[in-house]
């Protein structure tokens, strides 16, 4: 942890009416590393991502991306920062009146000068990567939930972003396919070296991919640690989480030990 973090949340608080969701989030994301955010449903993991993307403004606290407080900069600068992002929303947020092909092609068409031939080549390649060949002409409503997720992933990766945000990338995929997705992430990350922020419930498998694991509980990040340290942490909340999600191996050790 010697280099400067590229994303930093400092004491971010957010409440909705009487519900106090984020009670002071502190989190640092380091360049080229994969940070996995875990935690029970409804704790505010997706909300943290939305704060980093600048879609939700915190009640107090700062969100700093590339050294700039994204709630204080001008629209143009925010747009520049966002041009480094590739985002998969939890609900995929595909453009529902466009075909799969056009969805994935949209960032290329709007943000680059690529001609139609190049667009087609790149989009086909990304769709193949996500094992979606043959669905180019379908509309999002005609896809299964898992396919929608994969179209969202293809769209998030199509411009080779510097930072990716995946909100539950493998929820709704079968085991074989989610393993394949992890392999794809691993391959693309080693090739492109992007920084990744992944929200996932797929513990322990996702830990193999992680450089850091952050546990979100009770409105705060309990700790952000490398996976090995995470699994052996003294923090009682993290210990409980590890025991619950990774199950009997650790429990039985405890019983035996």
């Amino acid at each position: 942890m010697n280099s400067e973090p590229i994303i930093q949340l400092i004491d971010v608080k957010k409440r909705f009416g009487s519900q106090n969701v984020l009670k002071g989030i502190n989190l640092s994301i380091y360049e080229g590393k994969t940070t996995v955010v875990v935690g029970a449903s409804g704790q505010g993991k997706s909300l943290i991502i939305k704060h980093i993307l600048g879609l939700v403004k915190p009640d107090s606290g700062k969100v700093i991306v590339y050294g700039k407080d994204i709630n204080k900069i001008r629209k143009k600068e925010l747009k520049e920062i966002r041009s480094n992002f590739g985002v998969l929303f939890q609900n995929a947020a595909l453009f529902d009146s466009m075909t799969v092909f056009d969805n994935v092609a949209l960032p290329l068409r709007e943000r680059t000068k690529a001609n139609e031939e190049e667009v087609k080549k790149i989009v086909d390649e990304k769709l193949d990567l996500m094992e979606l060949e043959g669905s180019d002409d379908k509309y999002p409503a005609q896809l299964s939930g898992g396919m929608r997720k994969r179209v969202g992933l293809a769209r998030a990766l199509v411009l080779n972003p510097k930072i990716v945000f995946f909100d539950e990338p493998t929820t709704g995929l079968d085991v074989a396919l989610s393993n394949e997705m992890y392999r794809v992430f691993y391959r693309t990350q080693t090739r492109l070296g992007y920084t990744a922020v992944i929200v996932s419930h797929d513990v322990p498998k996702i830990l193999k991919l992680a450089d850091y694991v952050a546990l979100m509980h009770n409105g705060v990040i309990q700790d952000c640690l490398p996976p090995e340290d995470f699994q052996t942490s003294d923090n009682p909340v993290i210990r409980e989480f590890v025991q619950k999600t990774m199950g009997y191996i650790y429990e039985s050790e405890e019983v035996e030990g």
């Binding site: 985002v87 929303f89 960032p107």
Partner: protein, 265 residues
């Protein structure tokens, strides 16, 4: 204290509407600025919207134009006959259509047909996070979704008004001259004599303003569906905001009609 509660509520509602008016003005400003910013449009984006807003409205416009012209012929004839000046029918029909009814009725029909569709489309995009997704891709939704609709509406409205006027005058002619027996020569000569450039100019200004007004109100309402006072969630939120967009846009058309007339007359 129930009395205080009432004032609190009135204050809340007032603040909400002031807030909404401000938000919608800023929205208008952003869209208009984005229209003139690069990247420039692919022509297809705009022609597609012109097709949706303009071309698909032509049939409705022809229909309403025809019946409006017919009823104007009928009413005008019966009123003018009392003063035995049926010969002025041509100018009466043409002036009321060109100055008032053409722009106003066309704008109302376009609000009902295209405005509601624009509002619902954008409201659904908002509620399903598609607008957030665009922003995160560093694509400006003002530029990408809204600007083509604004351009298309501003181009389409005057053309639709022109169609409405022509069809209306033709139907007034059919009823007045062919059915009720007004002299054909005096029908047209009174029209040539009394319709001046300022009348056409007024109709044109109105149709531009209404074109902007309809697309502005309807798209801004949809764009901010999540900030609605009564909750803009899901399908019901979109349906409610669409209704209120159509009502607001229709009312504002009539209000602006009065003010534009009073300025130009």
């Amino acid at each position: 204290m129930p009395i205080l509660r009432i004032f609190e509520r009135i204050g809340d509602i007032t603040l909400y509407y002031i807030n909404q008016a401000g938000r919608m003005s800023i929205f208008l400003f952003h869209v208009i600025v984005s229209i003139f910013k690069p990247p420039y449009y692919k022509i297809f984006d705009i022609t597609k919207q012109i097709y949706i807003i303009g071309t698909l409205s032509i049939f409705v416009i022809i229909f309403t134009g025809a019946f409006t012209g017919m009823v104007l012929g009928l009413q005008g004839y019966n009123t003018l006959r009392k003063f035995s000046s049926e010969g002025l029918l041509g100018s009466a029909v043409a002036l009321s259509l060109i100055r008032e009814l053409g722009p106003v009725l066309t704008a109302l029909m376009v609000t009902g047909r295209a405005g509601s569709a624009i509002c619902a489309e954008i409201g659904i995009m908002r509620n399903t996070e598609q607008i957030d997704a665009l922003e995160c891709m560093a694509i400006d939704p003002h530029k990408y979704i809204l600007a083509p609709k604004f351009i298309a509406s501003i181009i389409s409205m005057p053309l639709l008004v022109a169609i409405f006027d022509v069809i209306g005058i033709m139907s007034g002619y059919l009823i007045g001259v062919k059915l009720l027996g007004v002299n054909e020569g005096s029908f047209f000569s009174s029209m040539y004599k009394n319709v001046e450039f300022i009348d056409v100019y007024m109709g044109l200004i109105k149709s531009f303003c209404f074109g902007l007004l309809v697309v502005w109100i309807c798209s801004a309402k949809g764009y901010y569906v999540h900030m609605e006072r009564k909750g803009g969630f899901g399908a019901e939120g979109v349906s409610r905001v669409t209704t209120s967009a159509v009502v607001l846009s229709s009312v504002l058309i009539l209000v602006f009609d009065y003010f534009i007339t009073s300025i130009l007359i």
